[in-house]
């Protein structure tokens, strides 16, 4: 697993207060991990902070799963 994936999952675990094994790549923040719309905004902010990138609102709206986040960040930082 990539370093980015590990760090994304760690942030998700911390911010959503969920068990680590539930944070699979295909897990949806809202449907599987109990996030609400404000939680997802905060998650995106945490990703920005952690990875020093900017995630515009229109891109953030498309980040629905753990994999979406990893893919976006790897692309942005790649």
């Amino acid at each position: 697993m990539s370093d980015v994936a590990d760090r994304v999952k760690k942030i998700v675990v911390e911010h959503l207060g969920v068990e680590e094994d539930k944070v699979t790549e295909n897990a949806s923040f809202i449907d599987d991990l109990g996030a609400d719309s404000l939680d997802t905004v905060e998650l995106v902010m945490a990703f920005e902070e952690e990875f020093g990138c900017e995630i515009p609102d229109d891109a953030a709206e498309k980040i629905l799963t753990v994999k979406d986040a990893i893919d976006f960040i790897e692309k942005a930082n790649g």
């Binding site: 911010h15 959503l16 207060g17 404000l38 905060e42 920005e48 900017e54």
Partner: protein, 420 residues
């Protein structure tokens, strides 16, 4: 009108977390005031406060007992304290509504004087330092005053009236008074009511210090700083925490066999129409508030055994309130007991009226009146009345009156009666 009784108590105070343990410490003449060590006070003249003791163990406040770590960032401390006091009061009352009907008959009315000042200060720093995008999506709901009531309703499934009071230092008393009327008028059968405050932060301390309201002469001896009616008093001491009561329509409480602490006898309000921070010099605002509460309760001044005073330890306010009490009660003023529990807790602003309602109710229930700490030399105008100096006193209390007065000239008085 329907009768309203008190069936549950909750308190998070500088003395302890828990109504009973706070009460025991209060009766033991302990103080919850100490030097502020949680933030820098080097440029603020008042360096002490009543801070909620945190940790794990009896009487210590552990936020995680009440709110998950995940949810903690969605609320400023005043909301966490309010949830904790409401949890305690509901647990104490044994009321756990599960059907739609019961949930809809149960409301929440918890206020705050100031709300989420620490989080407002932090977010303001971000915005003013070019970090607008770092402002949390939870910032607004973390500091809105009515979010105590909102969070408590969500946690416990309480679907009745959901309301909040904001009347500075009268908030807690107004909340309990207003909630009791909602039950009397049939809007709800049960109300969780009270106040919460956590404004002991750099911004809050700087603001009250600028208003010259705070004690500054006892920074090295914090437990001696809050000394209502004493000659050496020099201002109030900031405090934080929350108080909640479960109010219940009498037949409802009786039908489920609930423990009844006391009855809400009456509620009075008034406005000074005088000054934004100073009380009217003749004390007529407090006088009318007390008079209205007694009239509403249908009790005579001679029936009152105990007054829990607003008594914040300010040079002006303490004497004005005491003068109003002497005028209202006449000869009976020499027979009643009056104390200021702010001497032990500091001034919890919007939560003050709520924790002091809890103390007044316990005075009735336990037959003992709590002391006024540090009252060694009452100033001349404060003589001729039993101010319960230094030590608690056994005394049968049938009727207790609790005063709360706030900036803006807003006054509230509550009357509690022994349940018969």
């Amino acid at each position: 009108m329907r009768r309203v009784v008190v069936t549950g108590l909750g308190a998070v105070t500088p003395l302890a977390s828990g109504a009973q343990i706070t009460w025991q410490k209060l009766l033991n003449s302990q103080s919850g005031i100490k030097g502020i060590d949680t933030f820098d006070v080097s440029d603020i003249p008042a360096k002490i406060a009543g801070l909620v003791p945190r940790g794990e163990g009896e009487g210590l406040f552990n936020a995680e007992d009440h709110v998950s770590i995940k949810d903690m960032k969605k609320m400023d401390d005043f909301i966490v304290y309010g949830i904790a006091a409401a949890d305690q009061a509901l647990a104490d009352s044994g009321w756990k509504p599960e059907t739609d009907e019961d949930q809809e008959a149960t409301g929440v009315l918890i206020g705050s004087g100031i709300g989420g000042l620490p989080k407002i200060a932090d977010a303001s720093d971000l915005v003013n330092n070019g970090k607008t995008r770092r402002v949390s999506p939870f910032f607004i709901p973390s500091c809105l005053i009515n979010l105590v009531s909102g969070q408590v309703s969500i946690k416990h499934g309480l679907k009745g009236p959901n309301h909040a009071v904001v009347t500075a230092c009268s908030t807690g008393a107004h909340a309990i008074g207003d909630a009791s009327r909602m039950i009397m008028l049939g809007d709800a059968d049960v109300m969780v009511a009270g106040g919460a405050e956590a404004a002991v932060c750099r911004l809050g301390m700087a603001g009250f210090a600028a208003a010259r309201a705070l004690s500054t002469g006892y920074n090295d001896t914090p437990t001696e700083a809050s000394r209502p009616w004493d000659e050496g008093r020099d201002g109030f001491v900031m405090g934080e925490g929350a108080g909640c009561v479960v109010l219940e329509e009498y037949e409802h409480a009786k039908a489920r066999g609930a423990k009844i602490y006391a009855e809400v006898g009456g509620y009075g309000m008034s406005g000074d129409a005088y000054h934004i921070t100073a009380p009217a010099e003749d004390g007529n605002g407090g006088f009318r508030s007390m008079r209205n509460a007694l009239r509403n309760a249908g009790v005579n001044p001679e029936d009152v055994d105990y007054v829990n005073a607003h008594g914040t330890s300010t040079p002006l306010g303490d004497e004005i309130e005491l003068g109003a009490v002497k005028r209202l009660f006449g000869d009976h003023a020499t027979k009643l007991s009056m104390s200021s529990t702010k001497s032990a807790t500091g001034h919890l602003l919007g939560a003050a009226g709520a924790i002091e309602a809890v103390f007044s109710i316990l005075a009735i229930h336990e037959g003992v009146v709590p002391p006024t700490l540090n009252l060694r030399n009452p100033s001349e105008a404060c003589k001729g009345i039993d101010l319960v100096p230094l030590e608690a006193k056994q005394r049968k209390v049938n009727v207790a009156l609790s005063n709360s007065f706030g900036f803006g000239g807003t006054n509230a008085s509550l009357v509690f009666k022994a349940f018969k």
